[in-house]
Structure formats: structure tokens, C-alpha cells
């Protein structure tokens, strides 16, 4: 019902907005109906209508007008389709939505690899290939940006800091319900013929292409709104909702990683919103930001776009670092080694991430004098990144390593990101980058970072927190089969892509010169192998959710707070607010306790002795 209300209100919003824009157009002497101008303007009204209809009006906005808010009465599975403000419901909504997007984008990748198996056009013509490739990239970037933060930043983070919910539960629901319009825009784009710019949407190509391109801009803009709202909520939650005694250096490293990610997201997402907005205005309102004939500047787009989109790479990878270090500590049964250096690494990456963006533009025609500073800043960011490996290696060393499925994924992240990170050092070197920019070397590099790092960590996190979220265990053996299948498939696909890039295959092409055919065939075979690994995952995921054996409260024997409460957690998470006594990594330290959860009578001295 909620969704129906939202759709109706969204449609009403679109009609109202369209009428307004058409009136303005008619008044200024233009033809009233022009699909792009009308749709771009009406989108904002449709978005507002959708949000009001889906729950903002009934549960939130009515009191602003002196009316009582509706009581939220939805229970059971229907809550996942409603404007629910429980962070645990929202976490699941994010997870399922973005997993769906991940598998759709994965199918697009399979199509691309099928087309690229041989020279010439097979199943896709160049136009279709460009559209499929663009949608694959866009959707995967959306997944990488939002899936981990949305799912586990919401579900796990509040429990880890001993809170009963996020700081702004309604805002949290709003940030999720901004996501379905993103899916609508992407679908509309696909049905209207797609767009041919890739996810980077460089102007002026993105100004000149067909109407599908507009929906790409609207989708990215809308996801940006969702990211900003969600980031604000996470930042306030971590600052204000920590339990008593949860000092900054007692925070689980995963919380740190999400906190730092949210800061990046809050600061930088507006720039990609701006880039999209400028393109939309050039397309629909007659502005000339990117039209050189009228004084516009195409490189402006790249600067604004990468000013977000390089920090966005860290928005994708920092949560993966947090997850990985979390697993490495709990499954090595050792304290996280050099905890403060790991935190310093996250903060160092955050600080430097805003001064490296032009390394995407070494061959773009930007001022030559900028090459050296951006080369240097990019190479230097490997120092704080190295702290993550310092911490991981130091923790593994002399541990009691348990090869659980999530631990395998964490180790996979370390291996894959090692390759992704080291090849980044090559691409930061300008004489090398001049050759490798826009080749498959870059494609391989960022897949090692985003898929091999970010998405491997996402799957590790799913295996790790699934018992907490669902109250059921996933099948361990199938999990291990999935890991090794995915790990082998991933490396079989993307390692040869480095060679393809070195041999001179440029990216984003539906066809290539004959000398590249055999390597492309190998890459495609690896890709299909990688793709099928997810069948195992899906079977395990769905079956375990329905019929998996009941999970104990703490199946991993981990020390963070979420494992000290029932699986799945009760609505308010904790019976009484916990008091934190030490960081959660006191493995092997006799008498070390992370937190007192009350229960058998908490001593008064404890209540008094702990500073909030």
C-alpha cells in the first residue's frame, strides 16, 4: 500500500511539475512540451510527491500542520515495504535493494564479456554495447558507494556503539526511500535507449546524447541526495549516540571506517550533484557551461566530477578496510594490531583524498604544471593506505587464525587490494599513465580495488552478520565453495586484463584489433566462471534465510556489542544502555571486558566510575 501511495503521489507530482514547466515554457515563447526540459523540472516534484506519499506525510509532516501523525502499525515482513524507521529494517532494505542492483549489473557484465569474446559484432551493436557498459558501470558504482554503508552502516553500526537506533530515524528512512527513484530513473534510461557516456558522463558528449542520458543524470543526482542525508545521519549518530564509556579509541574499527566514509560522503557528494546539475542545465535550460563555442569549458566537468569521484573511491573502499580489519582481529583471536595507526590511516586517506583528483586527468589537456603535484600527492596516499596492511599483518602474526567464511573474504580483500593498490602506484606515475590511461590496465586496476576490495568485503560482511540479521546460520561449506569459486574467477578475469591494457586495448569498446582476441576470450571465460559463483551464493543466501539452522547470539565468539545481544536483536537492541569498559579487541588479555550490558545487577561503582 505504501508503495502504491508513493507511486500515485509521485505521478501527481510529475504532472504538477510538468504543468508548471510547460506554463513557464509557453510564457517564454517556447513550445510547451519538450520531453527533457519538462521531465528534468518535473523530476523534483515527482521525487517530493513520492517521498510524501511513501510515508513522509503520514508519519512525519502532518504535525507540522497541526495534525497528529499517523501511528505506525505495520508488522512482520510488510515493514520492509514501508516507511519503517528501525535502523535494522532499513539496513535490510538497503542490502536487498543493492544486492538486486549488483546482480543486474553483473548480468550486464556477462553480456559485455560475451560480446567481447571475439572480433566483430556478435550479439550487441556498438550502440547497445555502450548502453550496457554505461549501465553496468553506473549501477556497480552505486552499489559500491551505497551497499555496505547503507546495509551495515545502518544495521550494525548503532548496535556496535551501544545505541538503540540512529540519531535521526525518520531521516534514515527518507534516505532509503530516495533509492527507488534511482532505480526508476535507471530503468527509464534503459527503456529509452540508454546512454553512451559510461558512468563518468563526460561533457560535452553527455550534453549531446539522447534522452537516456538525462535519466542517468537524474539517477546520479537522486542517489547523491540519499548519500548526503545518510552520511549526515551517520556522523551525528557516531558523535552523539555512543554508549557511556565508548570513547573514540574504543570504537570498533568498522565504526571508524564508516564514520570517516560518511564525512567524505557529506563533504564531496555535493560536487557530483553539481556536475550532474550543470549537465542537466546545459541539456534543458540553454546554459553553456560545457559549450566552448559560447565560452564554456569541457574540462570544467572533469574537474568537478573527479573532485567527488576520487574521494568516492575511498567511500567505496574504506568500509572494506574496516570490515577486513574487524574480521582479521576477531578470527585471529588477537587484539587489532596498531589500532591507532589504522585509525590514523583512515583519517590520513580522508585528509589526502581531496588533493589527488587530477590524476584522472593527466592526459586530459590540463595544465602541464599540475602533473608533478598530483603525481606526488597520489603516490603519498599509499603511506596511510599502508597502515591498513601494517595493522592486518601485525594482527595475523602469531594469531589463532580461524578460517571462517567471512575471514576468507577478508583475506581475499587483502590479496586483491594489494594488487589493486600497487597497480595504482603505476598509474600515478605520469610517463606510465600516459600510455595506460583509458586502457584495460585501468579497468583491471579499479576492479581489483572496487570488486576485489569493496565487493569482496561486502560479501564477507554478509556472511559475518547474516546470523545476527536473520537469526539463522548460512551454510558453511557452500560459503567456502562460493569464496574459492569467486576468488579464482575474479583473478582469472581481471589479472589478464592488465595484460590486455599493456598490449594496447583501450576501454569502453565493443570491438578491438585481432591481436587482442585470444586474451579477450580468456578474460570472458574467467568472467563467466566468476558470474556463476554467485548462483552458489544466492542459493545459500535464500535457503538459509528461510530454513537455515537457528543462530546462537554469538556464533563467532566475537567481542563487539552486536554479538552480546540476541540474534536477531530486539527492537530496542539493548535492555538497558550498555556501559563500555574497554575496546572490543581484548583477546588474550585476562579479565578484559568490552562492555557491561547490565542484567545481573550492575554495580553502582561501575555506574559512577565510568565517564560517558
Amino acid at each position: 500500500m505504501t508503495i502504491v501511495r508513493g507511486v500515485v503521489a509521485g505521478a501527481v507530482g510529475y504532472v504538477l511539475g510538468a504543468a508548471l514547466i510547460m506554463a513557464i515554457r509557453a510564457a517564454s515563447g517556447a513550445a510547451a512540451w519538450e520531453v527533457e526540459s519538462v521531465t528534468a523540472g518535473a523530476w523534483l516534484f515527482a521525487l517530493t510527491g513520492w517521498l510524501l506519499g511513501v510515508g513522509v506525510w503520514r508519519y512525519w509532516a502532518r504535525p507540522w500542520f497541526g495534525r497528529p501523525a499517523d501511528t505506525y502499525t505495520t508488522t512482520g515482513w510488510r515493514r520492509y515495504f514501508d516507511f519503517d524507521t528501525d535502523h535494522k529494517v532499513i539496513g535490510v532494505q538497503y542490502l536487498i535493494t543493492f544486492l538486486t542492483m549488483f546482480f543486474m549489473a553483473g548480468l550486464f557484465a556477462m553480456l559485455m564479456r560475451y560480446e567481447l569474446m571475439g572480433v566483430g559484432e556478435d550479439i550487441l551493436n556498438s550502440d547497445q554495447y555502450n548502453s550496457i557498459m554505461s549501465l553496468h558501470g553506473t549501477m556497480m558504482v552505486f552499489v559500491a558507494v551505497a551497499a555496505t554503508v547503507g546495509a551495515f552502516g545502518n544495521y550494525v553500526l548503532p548496535i556496535m556503539i551501544g545505541a538503540d537506533d540512529m540519531a535521526y530515524p525518520k531521516l534514515n528512512a527518507l534516505s532509503f526511500w530516495l533509492v527507488p527513484p534511482v532505480l526508476v530513473a535507471l530503468t527509464a534510461s534503459f527503456l529509452l535507449g540508454g546512454y553512451d557516456t559510461g558512468w563518468t558522463g563526460y561533457a560535452p558528449l553527455s550534453v549531446k546524447n539522447d534522452v537516456g542520458g538525462l535519466f542517468f543524470n537524474l539517477a546520479f543526482f537522486s542517489l547523491g541526495l540519499s548519500s548526503i542525508v545518510g552520511a549526515l545521519n551517520i556522523i551525528v549518530t557516531v558523535i552523539t549516540m555512543r554508549a557511556r564509556g565508548m570513547t573514540w579509541f574504543r570504537l570498533p574499527i568498522f565504526v571508524w571506517s564508516i564514520f570517516v566514509t560518511a564525512i567524505l560522503s557529506l563533504i564531496f557528494t555535493q560536487f557530483v550533484g553539481l556536475a550532474m546539475l550543470l549537465v542537466i542545465l546545459d541539456r534543458t535550460a540553454g546554459t553553456v557551461f560545457f559549450d566552448p563555442a559560447s565560452g564554456g569549458q569541457p574540462l570544467l566537468y572533469q574537474n568537478v566530477f573527479w573532485f567527488y569521484s576520487h574521494p568516492a573511491v575511498y567511500i567505496m573502499i574504506l568500509p572494506a578496510f574496516g570490515i577486513t580489519l574487524e574480521m582479521v582481529s576477531h578470527f585471529s583471536r588477537k587484539p587489532l594490531f596498531a589500532y591507532r595507526w589504522a585509525v590514523g590511516g583512515l583519517l590520513g586517506i580522508m585528509g589526502m583524498s581531496s588533493v589527488v583528483w587530477a590524476h584522472h586527468m593527466f592526459t586530459s589537456g590540463m595544465a602541464e604544471a599540475l602533473r608533478k603535484p598530483f603525481l606526488a600527492s597520489t603516490e603519498l596516499i599509499s603511506i596511510p593506505t599502508g597502515f591498513i596492511f601494517l595493522s592486518a599483518l601485525g594482527t595475523l602474526w602469531l594469531g589463532r587464525i580461524r578460517y571462517t567464511v567471512p575471514m576468507l573474504f577478508a583475506l581475499g580483500v587483502l590479496f586483491n587490494f594489494l594488487i589493486g593498490g600497487l597497480t595504482g602506484v603505476f598509474l600515478a606515475d605520469v610517463p606510465v599513465d600516459i600510455q595506460l590511461q583509458d586502457t584495460y590496465f585501468v579497468v583491471a586496476h579499479f576492479h581489483y580495488v572496487i570488486l576485489g576490495g569493496g565487493i569482496f568485503a561486502l560479501f564477507g560482511a554478509i556472511y559475518y552478520w547474516f546470523p545476527k540479521m536473520t537469526g539463522r546460520m548460512m551454510n558453511n561449506r557452500l560459503g567456502k565453495v562460493h569464496f574459492w569459486w569467486m576468488m579464482v574467477g575474479f583473478n582469472a578475469t581481471f589479472l589478464p586484463m592488465f595484460i590486455l591494457g599493456l598490449q594496447g586495448m583501450n576501454r569502453r569498446i565493443a570491438d578491438y584489433t585481432p591481436g587482442l582476441e585470444s586474451a579477450n576470450r580468456a578474460v570472458s571465460m574467467g568472467g563467466f566462471f566468476l558470474g556463476t559463483s554467485f548462483v552458489i551464493f544466492l542459493a545459500n543466501f535464500i535457503w538459509s534465510w528461510v530454513k537455515g539452522p537457528p543462530a546462537p547470539d554469538n556464533p563467532w565468539g566475537a567481542r563487539t556489542l552486536e554479538w552480546q545481544i540476541p540474534s536477531p536483536p530486539p527492537h530496542e537492541n539493548f535492555e538497558i544502555p550498555p556501559i563500555v569498559l574497554a575496546d572490543p579487541y581484548g583477546y588474550g588479555e585476562p579479565g578484559s571486558v568490552h562492555a557491561d550490558l547490565g542484567g545481573n545487577g550492575r554495580s553502582e561503582s561501575l555506574e559512577e566510575g565510568v565517564q560517558a
Binding site: N130, L205, P292, A338, W341, T363, F426, T513, G515, G588
Partner: protein
């Protein structure tokens, strides 16, 4: 930094580990050295780059090869140290935790120094030195205006006024300046065999220089092509032409025949 509240606890329990440390460290160091030597030999034996036909290609390839030499020990270090721990320190049935080692001043200090030195080294060389080398010869013998449009390349030899489409003819061992422009969207002027690439941006003239050092053509070497490297729409994949490098007298004859 790095030291938690518990560094003094549980000393007795991990004494056995501390005693074993020097032996472990020596073993790991030995394995790492061995693996690194083998890896460096392998890396050196592999031909990473395709056909290289210009002065710039040598600079770029040398930079790549030097980075390979430097990256290999880093890669092997993480693999050997991590791999050793994964094999030796696996959980063996009991429920005991590992030793509560929260920090190691020596390890962290060494790590900091080594990673900082490595980063600064790669900035200086092959980074800055390579860039300086690329820019070391600014005088051009031949100027060619490159015009990109969807989806073709057009060349104009500035001195003679000769205009061509299709194959790009160049004389060997002459310094060539390309002045690149676009009439519609962004393209990128890339010659894989030369290791040069520069975007063609509407409303802007971008430049790049190259000195061809080898004879050759697209018929013999696929890398001898001008390839568009920036997505420009439906014809992007096939927006390439051949490049032919010939001796100076042959080039002069060709230019004269073409109307120069």
C-alpha cells in the same frame, strides 16, 4: 601511539611466542628474500610491453619496468609474511586466544620509514625524472595539426599545408609536435606504439610531442595506430587509423606526391 591499555598483561602466556620470534623472523626473512629474488628474475624475464617505436616509449617502458622492480619486494613481503602467519598460526582445536600483542615500536617504525622512503623514491624516479625527460626536447622538426571528429582523424602538415585522412605518415628520428583539436566531443589521440596520448578537447588546442625511432606500419604492428581513447559515442571503437614511419627521403617523396 598504538599502545593500548593492556600491554603489560599476560606476559607469561605469550613468552613461548616471544622466544620463538627470532627464529620465525629469520625464517620469514629468508623465505621473503628467496621469493623476491625468484620473482624479480621472473619479472625481468617477461616482456611486459608491446612494440615500442619512439623515444617516449623508452621513457614510459623504463618507468614501468623500474616500478615493477620496486613493487615486487613489497608484494612478496605482504604475501610471505601474511602467508607464513596463515599457514603457521592457524587455529588448532583449542579455544585459546592469541597473544595480546597490541603494538611493536620497532615494526611500526621500520614500516613507516620504508613506506615513506619508497613513496618519495617513486615520486622522484621514475616520476619527476621521467616527466623531465619527456619535456627535455621541446624543439619540433615537424608540426602536424590533428583534428578529431566523430568518428575520424584528419591530419594537416603545417609547413606544407598537406591534408590527409586515414593513415598518418611520419619520418623516422624527427621530433614531431602534434597540435590536437576536436570539433564535437572529447576524443583522445593515442598511438600505443609511441606511448603518447593526449585528449582532443573542443575549444582547446592540446599538444604532445614524439620522436619515432623505428620503422613500421599498422600492417606489421597493430600498435602502430592512432586510436581514439576517450569514449565519444557509437563509432568510438573503430575510430582509428594506421601510423606509418618511413625514412626521411621516402617521407619527403610522399609529401611531395601528396601536394606539398
Amino acid at each position: 601511539m598504538g599502545n593500548g591499555d593492556h600491554s603489560t598483561t599476560s606476559q607469561t602466556k605469550d613468552r613461548t611466542h616471544s622466544d620463538r620470534q627470532p627464529g620465525r623472523l629469520a625464517t620469514v626473512a629468508f623465505i621473503w628474500l628467496l621469493v623476491t629474488v625468484l620473482a624479480e628474475i621472473t619479472v625481468a624475464a617477461i616482456e611486459w610491453q608491446p612494440f615500442a617505436a619512439s623515444r617516449e616509449a623508452t621513457i614510459s617502458d623504463d618507468a614501468f619496468n623500474l616500478l615493477m622492480v620496486l613493487a615486487t619486494p613489497v608484494f612478496t613481503f605482504v604475501i610471505v609474511v601474511g602467508g607464513y602467519a596463515l599457514l603457521r598460526d592457524r587455529h588448532r582445536g583449542d579455544d585459546a586466544d592469541g597473544p595480546p600483542i597490541r603494538t611493536s615500536r620497532a615494526f611500526i617504525a621500520t614500516w613507516l620509514v620504508v613506506t615513506t622512503v619508497l613513496s618519495v623514491v617513486v615520486i622522484i624516479t621514475p616520476g619527476f625524472t621521467g616527466l623531465d625527460e619527456l619535456r627535455a626536447e621541446p624543439e619540433a622538426d615537424l608540426v602536424i595539426d590533428v583534428r578529431a571528429e566523430r568518428w575520424s582523424w584528419a591530419y594537416r602538415y603545417a609547413d606544407s599545408g598537406v591534408e590527409t585522412q586515414g593513415n598518418l605518415m611520419l619520418p623516422i628520428n624527427r621530433r614531431v609536435l602534434f597540435r590536437i583539436s576536436s570539433t564535437d566531443v572529447i576524443h583522445s589521440f593515442w598511438i600505443p606504439a609511441f606511448r603518447i596520448k593526449k585528449d582532443a578537447v573542443p575549444g582547446q588546442i592540446t599538444t604532445t610531442m614524439v620522436t619515432p625511432r623505428k620503422l613500421g606500419s599498422f600492417d606489421n604492428q597493430e600498435e602502430m595506430r592512432v586510436q581514439c581513447a576517450e569514449l565519444c559515442g557509437v563509432g568510438h571503437a573503430r575510430m582509428f587509423t594506421g601510423v606509418t614511419v618511413v625514412e626521411q627521403d621516402e617521407f619527403d617523396a610522399w609529401l611531395a606526391a601528396a601536394g606539398g
